[in-house]
Symmetry: C2
Subunit: 352 residues, 2 copies
């Protein structure tokens, strides 16, 4: 029987791209059970909580996967508000955030079209995202704030295991038979926390018998960003603690041509949640021009993780076909189509 | 009388680019007193400390400024070792790290040559760089590490004051009469620490009478990296906490064409230290091909901060002349010259 999928539009353009992804899911798996669920800042304003317990309960009890749109988290502190996406990742133990960026036409910072085919594997549960913060007063009566950054052997191990598995799959799928795993850290400054991340990653590689198909290397987070733009074609699988992964995946998204094209999957031991990398984009919300491709691709990643590899491939190919025809929303250079135009074109390509 | 400058080559190519910068200093200010000082990993291996107390004492007692090369900090934990550059910034209270990137030929990630003229103003004393870390054991006997991130009102205020001053100077120097100050944070997740940074920045702007010449705006660190590559021409003055600033300045350096071109100044209330943004580059050290431009430009920034604006301008123009002639080291696309070739060409341009 088909898996049940929770649909959580969230805020802003989430309400445009999740309905688009719904059409795609219903096209490739007719009759797939879909459940509409609430979360986000608007939900918070209406109900006093950004992630209603009922949403989590339905996801746990009835769903095998979910698609999340975007949230408009306020940048100023709002009493009682907490980012529902960060909370969902923790509550459902979605410890790996997998963010692939493939663009044959990606430019490096020298203006050369070198292309890229990489994936950021971001730890999704700890680092500064444990959100343990406190405010104190210093000797002069001024504020001084502290946050805790947590890096555990357990979380570092399982994220590296995910990344290594991916690196091995990529090696196996290539004629070269090889792949590259880059471990990102800042252990020249954070020798204890990032040192633990780095050593654990090395230990995972050794425990797997140091597979010769995969080359492992280290890179400091600052120079990794530099490299992503100078030589994106030299990057393959990147594994990183949470915040570095957050930053690196936006950097990688810049290579894709638009944030509106980049999908992700939040993966846990027993649940997977697709999520476009873009935000809620309040500036364009409600105008019908949000790029549905990231959400549609995230639906594809979701299906792939749930064992529907053929359907996932069909979605990817349909998106490719539509993009190759130049049917794109305005965030893509040259794009003039609406959310609906692009979505209908993908549906048509799937039915062709 | 001329200021006394401490020269700290450090490790690797520091020993090539600092002598190059020395020649430039001696050319524009003949007779300037220069003191050679020790620090770095090689110093640590020889003496047991990466930053000898004598180095700090000479800087404090005899110098008005310094030029720092680069250090080879080990990425694995080495008992007793601590990064001398991080320590120097703290000991001399060099709270602002100013990193300008100007490149008329910078490409955006769509392959368009849009140019950039921006400056990253990085807080230089706190954030995760307080290096308060501890290692514990969890319930399963596995390691779990913690680091403290500190954001204070005081440090956030003075770094924003520096950035705002710069933004006002830039506005005044332009025909438009305006500039843009972007405050970078991640307060959608770190509402207490980054919230304090953001609110303090806003308060500094308000306390300065909300100058109409400067537009102030906010940006999340992940989307700031995205923007640096999608629309570098839309970025002007950026103020950021320490680690974000570290990452953003490497991102900006990618726009410059090579890390080997990007200078910085570590600025405190009573001391200034020039420092190329690049590292010690062990792979090319000793080969005579290190790019001296970042160190030479850092010497220029140093002189500007010490009140030698004309000499600083002469250095910048000489570097421009040499670069326009295509005389460059191999890290610059098309470059074939040696460190010495480039340095001699800059000296010749200064004497022309
Ligand atoms: C919305 C925000 C909390 C989130 C994050 O930082 O993880 C977003 O930037 C992302 O990358 O999914
Ligand atoms: C060497 C390292 C400690 C340093 C930093 O992180 O500040 C470097 O990356 C820099 O940007 O100057």
């Amino acid at each position: 029987s088909l898996p049940t999928i929770g649909l959580i539009p969230g805020d802003g353009i989430g309400h445009e791209v999740i309905p688009a992804a719904r059409r795609i899911l219903e096209t490739v798996l007719p009759g797939i059970p879909l459940v509409d669920l609430d979360a986000g800042f608007a939900t918070f304003e209406r109900t006093g909580t950004a992630l209603p317990p009922s949403t989590v309960q339905v996801l746990r009890d009835q769903c095998q996967g979910a698609l999340f749109g975007a949230v408009s988290s306020p940048i100023h502190k709002v009493a009682g508000y907490s980012s529902p996406i960060v909370q969902l990742r923790k509550e459902l133990d979605l410890y790996a955030n997998v963010r692939p960026v493939v663009n044959k036409k990606a430019f490096n910072a020298s203006g050369e079209q070198v292309g890229c085919d990489l994936v950021i594997v971001r730890e999704n549960t700890e680092c500064l995202y444990v959100k343990q913060e406190r405010l104190e007063t210093d000797a002069n009566g001024e504020s001084i704030a502290f946050a805790t950054r947590q890096i555990s052997q357990r979380a570092s191990r399982r994220i590296t295991e995910t990344a290594l598995r991916l690196a091995q799959q990529r090696a196996a799928a290539r004629t070269s038979g090889t792949s590259l795993l880059t471990v990102v850290h800042k252990s020249n400054v954070l020798s204890v926390t990032d040192g633990l991340f780095r050593e654990t990653a090395r230990a995972v590689f050794a425990a797997a018998g140091s597979p010769t198909a995969v080359k492992i290397e280290d890179q400091l987070v600052d120079s990794m960003v530099y490299r992503l733009f100078r030589a994106p074609d030299s990057v393959d699988v990147v594994v990183a603690p949470n915040l570095y992964g957050d930053i690196l995946s936006d950097a990688a998204a810049a290579l894709a041509g638009s944030l509106g094209l980049v999908p992700s999957a939040n993966v846990g031991p027993s649940f997977v949640m697709g999520e476009p990398v873009h935000g809620s984009a309040p500036d364009i919300a409600g105008k019908g021009v949000a790029n549905p491709v990231a959400a549609i691709r995230s639906a594809g990643m979701l299906l792939a993780h749930l064992g529907y590899a053929d359907e996932a491939t069909r979605i990817d190919q349909a998106v490719e076909t539509v993009m190759a025809r130049g049917i794109a929303t305005p965030d893509v250079p040259g794009g003039k189509a609406s959310t609906n135009d692009v979505t209908s074109a993908v549906v048509a390509a799937l039915q062709a």
